[in-house]
């Protein structure tokens, strides 16, 4: 298993250095237009929030996997996790809003010892929970084997990464043996009703490319995944969400190491889609870090780009009106969400 950039003391573990790489196009040998310039040309600058719909909480960077493309630089060697006190601050803020959906991410969110408590509290507030489950956590340890039943009890929407229906391409991105474990976990989720035709338990899969290329058609890939996973493993699921890899953290490291950085960025820039730009998820999401700090999205969070201006910077100071009045922080990585059919935690946007 590879180590996180942080554990390796890699230069890219420094978010300031990542931003330098992203913004100093000349240093990387390429000349790419500033993302803000593209937004201006399409009438979207400054980028402002629309109605706040989702609270996305990153409950920690601890993970049982070390995926090559992880923008969080998560792994077993990361110890930063959200405390119950900070979770309570998130719940207090949630209770003061009409936000309908709480999206729990990580790392492996289930590894946070207060994860189940948090889901129960969100349910008690009558809000819907999405968990970004890496699947293998379910079979990683006996104490996680009942996660499917727990998810079902709280009608949690499970969104799980599976970059391919073949073991080779999945393991190349997510680690040796991940495919086989993911299949086992998917069968356990199916067994309690997830993804089944007449069930209200939603199981979505996330496809992100295992390499330096953009995702193909979401509908086409969904059809392929359904056929192959159904035929070969008897697995069912609801929707496939395609997500473009953003040049942040370990995926940025991969791009630079493999010599694909310039070409990949050019591909994203060439595929800039104003409709996708208008629908970027940061406009309707509030992202909260493990320590309670506030960001426009999980990518900005991993680049330490806090919300801008007079908007509160920590969930303890949550003020929806001030947050809604902010200007969203952008940088070159944002091209990843606006390329082609667009990309968000909910799949395509255009």
């Amino acid at each position: 298993m590879i180590k996180s950039l942080q554990a390796r003391h890699a230069p890219l573990a420094d978010t300031g250095y990542q931003l330098t790489v992203l913004t100093e196009a000349e240093a990387a040998g390429a000349r790419l237009p500033a993302f803000g310039q593209k937004l201006r040309e399409t009438g979207l600058l400054p980028l402002r929030p629309t109605a706040l719909q989702t609270m996305q909480i990153n409950v920690g960077r601890m993970c049982n996997q070390v995926c090559k493309h992880c923008h969080v630089d998560a792994g077993p060697d990361r110890k930063e996790i959200m405390t119950r006190e900070t979770m309570q601050l998130c719940l207090d803020a949630l209770a003061r809003t009409d936000i309908a959906v709480v999206d729990l991410t990580g790392g492996a969110p289930e590894m946070n010892p207060d994860f189940r408590w948090l889901v129960e509290q969100i349910s008690a507030l009558g809000r819907r929970t999405i968990v970004r489950c890496n699947l293998t956590i379910i079979v990683a340890n006996k104490k996680y084997h009942d996660l499917p039943e727990f998810f079902a009890l709280h009608k949690v929407q499970v969104v799980s990464s599976l970059p391919h229906f073949s073991a080779g391409r999945t393991d190349a991105q997510r680690g040796e043996g991940v495919f086989e474990k993911s299949i086992r976990a998917l069968k356990m989720l199916n067994a309690v009703g997830y993804g089944q035709p007449d069930s209200d338990l939603t199981l979505d899969l996330v496809y992100n490319p295992s390499g330096a290329f953009m995702p193909g058609s979401q509908a086409g890939l969904e059809r392929e995944f359904k056929q192959r996973l159904g035929r070969e493993f008897g697995i069912v699921f609801n929707s496939l969400l395609t997500i473009t890899n953003l040049p942040v953290s370990r995926f940025l490291d991969y791009l630079l190491e493999s010599g694909n950085y310039e070409k990949y960025m050019q591909q994203l820039v060439d595929a800039y889609n104003p409709t996708a730009a208008a629908n970027v998820m940061c406009r309707s999401t509030l992202s909260i870090g493990w320590d309670g700090q506030l960001y426009d999205c999980d990518f900005n969070q991993q680049l330490d780009l806090l919300v801008s201006g007079p908007a509160p910077k920590h969930i303890r100071d949550f003020d929806e009106a001030l947050l809604q009045d902010r200007t969203i922080v952008i940088n070159q990585h944002c091209y990843g969400c606006t390329a082609g059919a667009g990309s968000s935690c909910g799949g395509t946007t255009a």
Partner: protein, 111 residues
Amino acid sequence: MESTYYNPADLAKFGNITDWQPEMGNKFFAYYAEVFKDGALTEREKALIALAVAHAVQCPYCIDAYTTDSLQKGADEAQMMEAVHVAAAIKGGAALVHSVQMMNKAKELSM
């Protein structure tokens, strides 16, 4: 003229073929786009066919483009290599099936 016949940067200039004959060029690209849409065959199947043909016609631009396209459409390495084997089998078969002519001729000339 370049120092080599093939330059990877030229692939991105494919669209420029409309410069000197826009009507025909545009019609070609409209047709091209139509061909690769999801239809009776899926986009992935079409990408794999294109990849196989790219090898048969030995076009480095097409190999570059359709390797990327096949990956984007969800194909994996095994599928891509099998597609190339289909091209190789047809090319090999095309050579070998002509040996029937050779055999016919040889028999005609021989005692």
